[in-house]
Symmetry: C5
Subunit: 363 residues, 5 copies
């Protein structure tokens, strides 16, 4: 049996202090994360009720120049390469140094903070791969009066439906930055449901495997991985729920009254995700119980049959042993019916034992 | 052993995002559910203290035309086929777009929402089949000043007692739409008790099966299904409890002071359902404990008896082995009493061992 | 092995909807319970500071006629046979229809409700039988300014100490109906302690049984019954605690300031019952742990000894097998010392193995 | 195997109703407890800033006569023998009848109650004996403006340090009765820490026993006793914590502002006791896990080795069986090399099996 | 098997009353701790916006003389040797006697207390050693308007980054004592992350060990140690979290508005530590589950194979037994084909059994 050294993944979603340096001054923006930081790319969508323009600026400077206070500006930034540019942007948006640090620390818990002239929201985009578990990508939002800035760890996101709805001129174009923020969060949460679907497929696969399961260990490891992923998701979902809840109750002019029902709807969706997760945890526990019980039953069954076979033959062997003894005075041996009688008595013994076992319901 | 692939059912009661499309604009009414949507059928009961009329209109238009603001209108809609009609109805009732979406999403959690000129309540009708588990059907209520609209997924409900009490001219005819809403919810909750009865029958069946249980696996799977159903019910009951509780404390003229005691009574009933569910969970856990313990005891018993049989015969076989040796100088062999002496000593050994085992209380 | 089909008792303490009929109008007084309703019998005790009269009226009419507003009237009713009489009484006491329904539904949870001119309290009288578990009897109280009405399911209660103290002219005679209610509740709660004593006897019996326990299954079932009873009690005690707590904080002139310390004392007693129950649960779990561990140890011990016996004899049998072979060229066989040498070497092997097992601490 | 009938101790710390009589009038002082009530003995310490006098009065009358309102009077009473005296004292102190009952019910939960002109505090003194578990003694305090009365179940307490500090004229002499109460409670809580030390010794003893443990059952029972004791302690500590917390927040002139920080310190100490108890529970659970795992490993190890021995010899015995057959046509038998060849092949088989087992890492 | 007596560590982080003496007057500063108290050493850093001076005074007197109310004074004290000096310092800082006692009791729980003219904060510095578990060192802070005093148990801390940042003249030099306190706490919390890293390494080591694990017991013990350490950390972290939370909400002029965001950031970090700890607990439980399951599977596998080998040979031995019998009338024996036929039939039996086992999927 070859042992493949697959480790249970340990806490891959949290702050790793060794990269930051203990005792660094707070507010120091240092990139924290598992991925190699990529060169930042930018996109800028400016729209109002009537017009919309999509641009892919080359630099922060360009973005700043292109700002139009009469339109809603959605600035999207992928990656955090250039420190100078990053500080320039933070300065332009008048971000607090702690905000600047939090955005770049991609191991942060989801949260919402109100800084008066802007709101910061940290969320997590989750991608589930059927075989390799889950990838978490932090996405931070800055909401100001006329802009939403989104910071992603790297290119590739789930916002294309929003981009299309913006171009299609719907409700999204008529409402403010708060509704854009809501729409983006909504897409992220909707995405969680597809993560759940992948998990349900994995759960079904593990369950199917459990039926034939000879490989108790691989089942346990697979089950363990699912449980770990469920725990990581739960750990993300609870602060997401709190974040949305705080958004609902935020006393800031940046979040208008009109989007309250949408945020409540979002809140319900997050709760639903949490409930499905709890459901999956119970289901996983149930599958494991059935599996363990079936493994143990199977083993018992095998041992029972094997022991019964032994138990039948041991008395028979004893009989052959008797007539294999070399005593001179064994009248049975010299009788012409001795051999068939011995064989017959052995058949009788075997039959009796089998009958006894059947009667006892052991066979 | 044939393996029938019966999967543990995984979360069949929640939103399935794949059908909706990620990032769809909120408020888009898209049918979400496991059932094929059926053609909508309608019924309209109009009553007041003195008169009552029952109609089965063919279309939404007809319903709208038949509205009488001086009577209480109970509009019941089964199925959600025609989108145009549905939007027409929502327009007539002045429903919020989020309400329209929630009604048609049949995977929604039970909840109550107050929109000023109407209340929306989402509940679940549950049908328990003794062999096939439980079927959940979402039922949404719109409560306005002079109408109650009920949206069901398909024809067939548990409201016939209400229809009869309406015809029988009792208290129901004298009170307003809020009391009608209460009466409908009360029937739904009363129905939960019969679901509980079916569950108790299933629990008893599983317990009876556990007594004879040779099939550990099938027991575990049956038990697992009951546990899953109990969990699904609990997951439904908690939000139902909150919904009723919110109705009690709703500060809206739509729910009058007079029905407060009835709603409190309803609340108590829901709590009782939850308590019975908890009780069943404990009972199920208890049955499983006893079963597992009895399986293990039985197995141990078998192994013990078999091992004891072997243990008695092995020394005896050793004795026969001795006298089966071919040494020339074995005086016992040539003695005329050798054979009976050997047999006697073997009988002695066997008896001694049996006595020893009995003494040790092992037999 | 004869299988006696003793079912774990499933939820015998809750509402059974099948008897009531789903969708019955609320406030319809329908008897719900497991017992055959008995013909109602009545007793009436009227007392004040100076005089006391005890009567056993034949009918409700008689009771109503005998009411004396200047005395404290304790009306006790056993059984709910006559519907007309029952409605007459409710009318006389001006009971709400929901109250009338709750009283007659003997599966109701303990609760307290304030209806302005009267208070309703529902409690449970528990009788513990050492062999048959527990019997629950619902007892409902109506507290008005000058009367306490007690509804019992059937004759036979634990109120005799109160009757004696009333006759003995103590504090009870000097205080109002609220103190009478307190005194009755206090007796009921005091009674719980004797239920606890019976449970502790049962726990000790189960523990004693566990020492000799060959019958793992019967132990598990007995333990399971105790656990079920503990759970039922807990399920009763929590709402009883809430009921008393609500009585303490009830803002009604019916419950005077003077009895607040007595109610607090009652509250403490209920909490003590709950604590003892929790203690018993832990004790039960502990006994079960010790039992299971001792069963498994015992089994292991037996299997070990048996296997050791086999293991010693198998090599010896091998030796006899060698010298039972029929090769012509086996010099040992023809040696005069062959036989004793073989026997000696077998003794050596056996001794060596025994020494080895002892050394390894396996024997 | 001799079975010593050591019962798990069941709830020895609670009210036993059988001694009290169900339905006794509340406020009736009846001694409740496990100990034989002893004749009461008294001590009286009177002190102020400048003088101190210690007396051991013979009777309550004497104590009452000796009261000096200008000094702080600490009256200590051991045992509750004389009912007349007890009532006389309660009358002198103007104690509520419920207080009088609570003091004498030595199974009461720790609590604090404010009666306006006096405070009652019930606490528990705990003595831990290394072999016999724990003894609980109830101690009740009455705090008035110029007196602290302590009621103990019997002579012997942990207050000697206080008596010495009183004589030594320190802070204790300068402050009021509230500080004396605090000081007495502080000693009691300090004493809990030595109970914890005894428990830690017992835990270590059980752990040491677990290493050599052949006696699974005695280990389990010892562990169970420790767990029971931990649970009893926890059950005492939680109300003690609440009692101290209520003392801190008591709005009574009897407890001055100046001792608030001392009470907070006391509160922290109680919390620390609770935390250590939780820690011990976890440690106990951990020791048990390791023990059970080691028992099972040991058993498995033994069974494995024994089975391997059998498995090696069974094929060998088969070979000897072959050459023990009496067929006439067995050329090997008549060959001169037959015997050594058979022995050699058996050695080969044995070696091969051993190699195989080693290769599989089973040996 | 040599048994190394490694005890599970029991509660090494709490108050040990035996050293203090039960009933000692509160506020008596007595050193409580596991370490030998060392001679105190002092350091004093005085700074403001423009200048900074670092001194290592020889005595408390010197420190007091060097105080400069116009600068921020950071007094660091390692060890608590000289009682006179300690009292002198407490007097100079006007510390409450309870504060003086708490500082010197190095087993205290983390807490924060506001005494008006100063704040006391107690925290824990943790050092993790990969092989020897964790060392806890208590560190107490006194925050006054112009001084921060830090009390450590012994020389050696994690504050060097702060000392460097002070010299480097950054934000730290511009803000007040509250920011210095925050910075020191921040370093301590940052340090917890490196403790977590060590724990993750230990978890991985245990997991790696579990793969090859023959030594079930040593695995269990290692796992138990990790769990104990996780529990100790959690027990420290919760009060640390509360302490920071209280600092945030402290209504004292000593903690300014400006550092609120920094404290919130600190709070988030502590929560993150707690979450990682919870994650580790789950991971540890998961690893243990997989290990136990794999041990049991492995054992079952071995027993199965061994039993199968026995089961194949026992019927074969029976056949050889038959033809080893000495009956005169056994025609097979004298047939020339008897021997090969017997061998062939045995081969057939063996093959049949193997086929049967393979068919049953047991091999």
């Amino acid at each position: 049996m070859k042992v493949t050294k697959k480790r249970t993944r340990i806490a891959p979603i949290f702050k790793s202090v060794t990269k930051q340096g203990i005792g660094a001054s707070p507010g120091t923006p240092i990139y924290i994360g598992d991925r190699e930081p990529v060169d930042a790319t930018y996109s800028l969508i400016q729209y109002n009720d009537t017009t919309i323009s999509v641009a892919t600026p080359e630099s922060i400077e360009e973005i700043i120049l292109m700002q139009d206070p009469n339109m809603i500006n959605w600035i999207n930034i992928n990656g955090f390469a250039n420190e100078v540019d990053y500080k320039r942007l933070c300065g332009f948006l008048k971000l607090d140094s702690l905000t600047a640090e939090d955005i770049i620390n991609t191991k942060h818990r989801p949260k919402m903070e109100d800084f008066g002239h802007y709101l910061m929201v940290i969320a997590k985009m989750i991608t589930a791969k059927e075989n390799e578990g889950q990838a978490f990508e932090q996405i931070s939002f800055i909401l100001t009066e006329n802009a939403v800035v989104t910071f992603q760890e790297r290119p590739g996101d789930c916002f294309n439906p929003i981009r299309q709805r913006l171009k299609a001129n719907g409700k999204l174009r008529k409402l403010g930055t708060d509704y854009l923020l809501y729409a983006l969060l909504d897409v992220i949460v909707d995405n969680y449901f597809s993560v759940l679907e992948v998990l349900s497929v994995r759960l079904e696969a593990v369950e199917d495997a459990s039926v034939s399961a000879k490989e108790s260990k691989s089942f346990m490891r697979g089950m363990q991985n699912i449980k770990t992923d469920l725990n990581h998701l739960r750990r993300i979902m609870w602060p997401v729920r709190d974040t949305v809840s705080e958004l609902i109750h935020a006393e800031t002019p940046l979040v208008g009254e009109t989007i309250a029902p949408y945020l409540r709807d979002l809140h319900e969706n997050v709760i639903q995700v949490i409930e499905v997760l709890d459901n999956y945890r119970e289901t996983a526990a149930g599958i494991q119980d059935v599996f363990l019980s079936s493994v143990s039953t199977r083993m018992n069954e095998i041992m029972k049959v094997l022991t019964i076979i032994s138990t039948i033959f041991i008395p028979l062997s004893f009989v052959t042993g008797i007539y294999g003894m070399n005593f001179i005075n064994m009248p049975e041996l010299s009788s012409i019916w001795g051999y068939p009688a011995a064989m017959g008595s052995m058949a009788l013994i075997a039959g009796g034992l089998i009958f006894f076992f059947k009667h006892k319901n052991w066979l």
